[in-house]
Subunit: 320 residues, 2 copies
Amino acid sequence: MVVASDPVVALEAARTGDRTALARLLSTIERGGAGARSIGELAFSRAGKAYTVGITGAPGAGKSTLTSAVVAEARSTGERLAVLAIDPSSPFTGGAILGDRVRMGEHALDDGVFIRSMATRGHLGGLALATPEAIRLLDAVGFPWVLVETVGVGQVEVEVAGAADTTVVVVNPGWGDAVQANKAGLMEIADVFVVNKADRDGAAQTSHDLESMLDLTGRSGDDGWRPPVIATVGTTGEGAADLWQAIGRHRAHLEAADQLTVRRGTRLREELALVVQQRLRAKAEALLDDAGRSSLEAEVLAGTLDPWAAADRILGPLAD
Amino acid sequence: MVVASDPVVALEAARTGDRTALARLLSTIERGGAGARSIGELAFSRAGKAYTVGITGAPGAGKSTLTSAVVAEARSTGERLAVLAIDPSSPFTGGAILGDRVRMGEHALDDGVFIRSMATRGHLGGLALATPEAIRLLDAVGFPWVLVETVGVGQVEVEVAGAADTTVVVVNPGWGDAVQANKAGLMEIADVFVVNKADRDGAAQTSHDLESMLDLTGRSGDDGWRPPVIATVGTTGEGAADLWQAIGRHRAHLEAADQLTVRRGTRLREELALVVQQRLRAKAEALLDDAGRSSLEAEVLAGTLDPWAAADRILGPLAD
């Protein structure tokens, strides 16, 4: 194991199987800042081969167990995979890592699988900015498949989930679960639906609800792809092969229709706009501090300066 | 009626009861831009007396009917009110205005009530920026109460709903409605809970769920205020008097504990930060266009420039 502070050396070590080097590179990306930039630049220039699959759904839908079953299925066909588990609720990366070991323990000794949790650390835009960078790093070190597991709650989380080549939305049998998925904005981003825990009552009804909603929301296959609805039981692995095949079919569809390049282009454009916004936000914070944040705020609170006039003073030459 | 392009004249006309003048001033604020700025500045210097009440909840919770019942109750005690209905889903202001007439028709001929819908027009941050300006205008022209009705779905909408002196969260009887309110982030912002449509099955259970959740989420009254849970039937007006009294009690609590100034100060600080961000976002758009958006995007798509390096080029001297 090489303890490499040079990102080129560290990336090469990670590429040839040094997992500690890879974990450190991911931690640096997660932290952001200048260190993350040089890794991001390197990874960007070497990425572009991996296919990404987003797996999302409400908390408790059984995403991790299902992901583990999909990984087992993919491994049985010889595919190498990296799994990125986004855990927006946990501020404890340690806890998240422990969680991985428990949930994905069966893959712990498999060299063809790399599993990593990312916590958001609560900073605005952090998750949306760090995730594509982390995916590119896993891509650059040679994983042909990157699975991204996210909780499908909240605008940012749903956006992150939708920023994959194929997005799998997981629901459970039971009244209203399909309706909730629709409300959370998951209906628009799904390329494949999974009714997980399909051994429970109501699974057929939930599949039926999803099919009806696909009809209603206009996602009934006009663009040549109607999201299939797959029944799975994550704990037994039932249906995992069907799901893996559905992902493959969607991939083939995107590639045949030349949609993959279009999709990735849209994502990169969105990422660029987000990066610009994020940089300006940091600049705004700095400007607020430079301008004497508290004295300006005091004037606003005293009613002698309205927020827009205060913003003019803060922004100075940027206000034009 | 005076058709006044001078905002000072228009504001004075609105203050003495000219509703057309007031409606025009609100439209100008909604549109944003330079016209909105001069009105905003004037309103800011004359505002500070009105008490704001946010009323929020899921679509279909019966917020408008309940608001109408609260208005009737407040009018019976002689209070004058303005109602601002935020309609994030409707791009048609015309449609929203028609909606008001239908929903709040009983107050149409009452000089002590002014009702207005605001559509977001889809521009980012528009709702969060225009709402406090509109509230200050209604404050400046002399309404002692401003009720703001919003749909409690989405981060921005929840933030707008929470930016009131007293925030009322409306849920319905039925399985999981309290849980959904919690997930939507409404539990944290509620000062008063309402179980509306309380003549339906399950109302007592929903009240019980809310009380349990208040215990669990630590909002059990440590700061001297535990959000009460009020049962109402908006269509008959049942419980509206209880709700109006609960709002009065919360107001008295805030004033006694000197919390009102603190709350309003926090809001103004947040608004200032948001204005600065919004100005910078506009600047970013301009910079993206100046820098030749499409050619830079092409380089990113071609893989020759990573998004952060592209952002550096776009931001130029602002990148520091």
